[in-house]
Symmetry: C2
Subunit: 369 residues, 2 copies
């Protein structure tokens, strides 16, 4: 087992990484409280891992857990699911001295984390991510949210978990498509922050796709280390943490434009990163060869390198409501080089249009896919 | 104008108190940001004060404000109203660099404050309380929430305002019943924390009921000072802040038992304080004469001194889901003497039943009303 620490003073917490982590009662025990434990999960994950988590909680000394199931999928990250969690907690008379366990992927983690953030004005929660995307990205850093009809993650809170328990063994049951979507976020960490990680991925993509345990531990640990550094420096995304959103402004537009749930988040981020890299090239910041290197790595991972064929105007419209817009000026995260992202609010909108046009299905660059 | 400061390090903020405060642009100016301003209010308050607030914002240099109206009344403090606020903000493309102004009573403040806490994971807000209850209590301290069918304030956040602008001039238009409900919270501050305030109220109740400006400023300022001290010591209600809930565990049961909106919050707290004082007497902590002194002061203010005639069992059931329950043990805030509240989790349930039985309509003590 490896442990990465997220240093946030009173809100610091460990990220435990390794095969069998979810069975390790010592990872749960320090966080149990006077009140009850509720496990929030979905009907796909529950039959696979719920009993094991409950058994570990029991060995840690917890009373029998409250079980709350929510629907699977991004479209379920909404008010209705949130109400179901609250109903379950209130029906079981969970008090402010209880704790939530989020068992599942990014949707369960975001939803249960937000429920924990606002239930009786906030109770602690433990992230037990069972997808690669959640293990390398969404379970760490305290971003929680639900979607709104007008935009993704529009309603949420910064609420750090008490611990993250990332068991790479649970990735054995992950559908191939979701594995690849998770790899997109690892590629993002590399391109935005760490050129060495990019080089490692170029060498080891086959091992990763074969779910080699050591390779999975490597990318989870390295991703969590990078994310922990950024989050420790800027918990509430007032500055450098924004760089972790590389590819996300375009990616959110893809997800919304295609309709939530059609593209997986990681797939949208993959194509979104290509757009952001093209924009960097348009702005004269990044050599075309580096954009090509991104496309090549995404293809190695079986990820899309182009967005749906919508008009650039439609993309711009979808992005206008994005959180990255500040004071009316559109802000974009670009690359100065591989491993060095930067935030810019002075880019010519024509470059943005050109970057989109160069990265949607049907364009020559995309057609190579 | 007087200013009380709530000392919470980076989250510190001023409470400006006085007649004409809402017209004072200098109170808004330091908090304006690159993005837009949205004023959340209701159809009762809007015709009275919205234009004045908008004019002050304009003088402070803000762009024209987004206006969002929500329904009046405790029963409107729910998901539906919250969605209306989010819809309004998203339709106007409010970004993370915007600010909310909550113009109204406790319902608007709690609701808009919670909306600000979770909109795009949190934006700042200014409280402009226009009821006595909101000025002396709910606008200060950062508690925000909406109600759930299973309990009041069950979903919420601690989110401190950037400033509170308490204009006692707005109390001129307050219905008599709401004025009295606000006085209940002032009486609470006195009985829980400050015997001198109790003595002042016994002397000056007539001035207060006549809405004498100096008397109003006195109780708003003193209440805010007391609350600021408690909140600075225990922002998230892990300890001493609980004492501000004196009368509230019983009060919430009264509100829920009667159906939200039938009793005003302050009225329920008034009768709830009598129950809590009776419980203190049952536990041998408080002389019967002091409980009588509470009843007398509440009657002076025209407030109820007894709850609805429900069975003690029903009260206990309604209180079991209350946030004050910890690890299964019921906790009550009692008085050791006037001005000195204490939290106890070791009280005999028979005393609680007896305290309720002695303080519901139809009992001899209540009948004196």
């Amino acid at each position: 087992m490896e442990t990465v620490r997220v240093a946030l003073e009173a809100r610091s917490y460990p990220v435990h990484i390794g095969a069998g982590a979810i069975d390790t009662e010592a990872f749960y025990r320090p966080h149990l409280r006077a009140g009850r434990v509720a496990v929030v999960t979905n009907p796909v994950v529950a039959p696979l891992y719920l009993e094991r988590v409950k058994a570990a909680l029991a060995r840690a000394g917890a009373a029998p857990a409250i079980e709350i199931l929510v629907e699977d999928g991004e479209q379920a990250k909404n008010w209705t699911a949130l109400e179901r969690v609250f109903d379950g907690l209130l029906a079981a008379r969970m008090g402010r001295d209880g704790i939530l366990v989020a068992l599942g992927g990014g949707v369960v983690g975001d939803l249960a984390g937000f429920a924990a953030a606002v239930y009786q004005r906030g109770i602690p929660f433990i992230q037990v991510p069972t997808t690669l995307l959640a293990q390398v990205d969404s379970s760490v850093g305290g971003k929680t949210a639900v979607n709104h009809a007008r935009g993704k993650n529009m309603i949420g809170a910064f609420h750090q978990p008490a611990a993250v328990i990332a068991d790479v063994g649970t990735l054995a049951t992950l559908p191939e498509r979701e594995l690849r979507a998770g790899i997109a976020e690892v590629i993002k960490h590399g391109f935005a922050l760490d050129a060495a990680l990019v080089a490692w991925l170029e060498e080891n993509m086959a091992r990763l796709l074969a779910r080699d345990a050591a390779a999975l531990v490597h990318v989870v640990r390295r991703s969590c280390e990078l994310k922990a550094q950024v989050v420790a420096a800027d918990e509430r995304e007032a500055g450098t943490r924004t760089l972790l959103n590389f590819g996300h402004t375009f990616g959110h537009a893809i997800e919304a434009g295609a309709g939530y749930g059609v593209w997986l988040h990681g797939e949208a981020v993959a194509a979104g990163m290509v757009m952001a890299a093209e924009l960097s090239a348009q702005a004269g910041l990044l050599p075309a060869a580096d954009t090509e290197r991104l496309r090549r790595l995404l293809r190695q991972a079986g990820l899309p390198v182009a967005g749906p064929a919508l008009a650039p105007e439609r993309y711009l419209d979808l992005m206008a409501g994005d959180k990255k817009a500040a004071g009316g000026r559109a802000r974009y995260i670009v690359l100065r080089e591989i491993g060095r992202a930067a935030l810019r609010d002075d880019l010519d909108e024509r470059w943005v249009r050109a970057a989109i046009a160069a990265s949607v299905d049907g364009t020559s660059a995309a057609a190579v896919q």
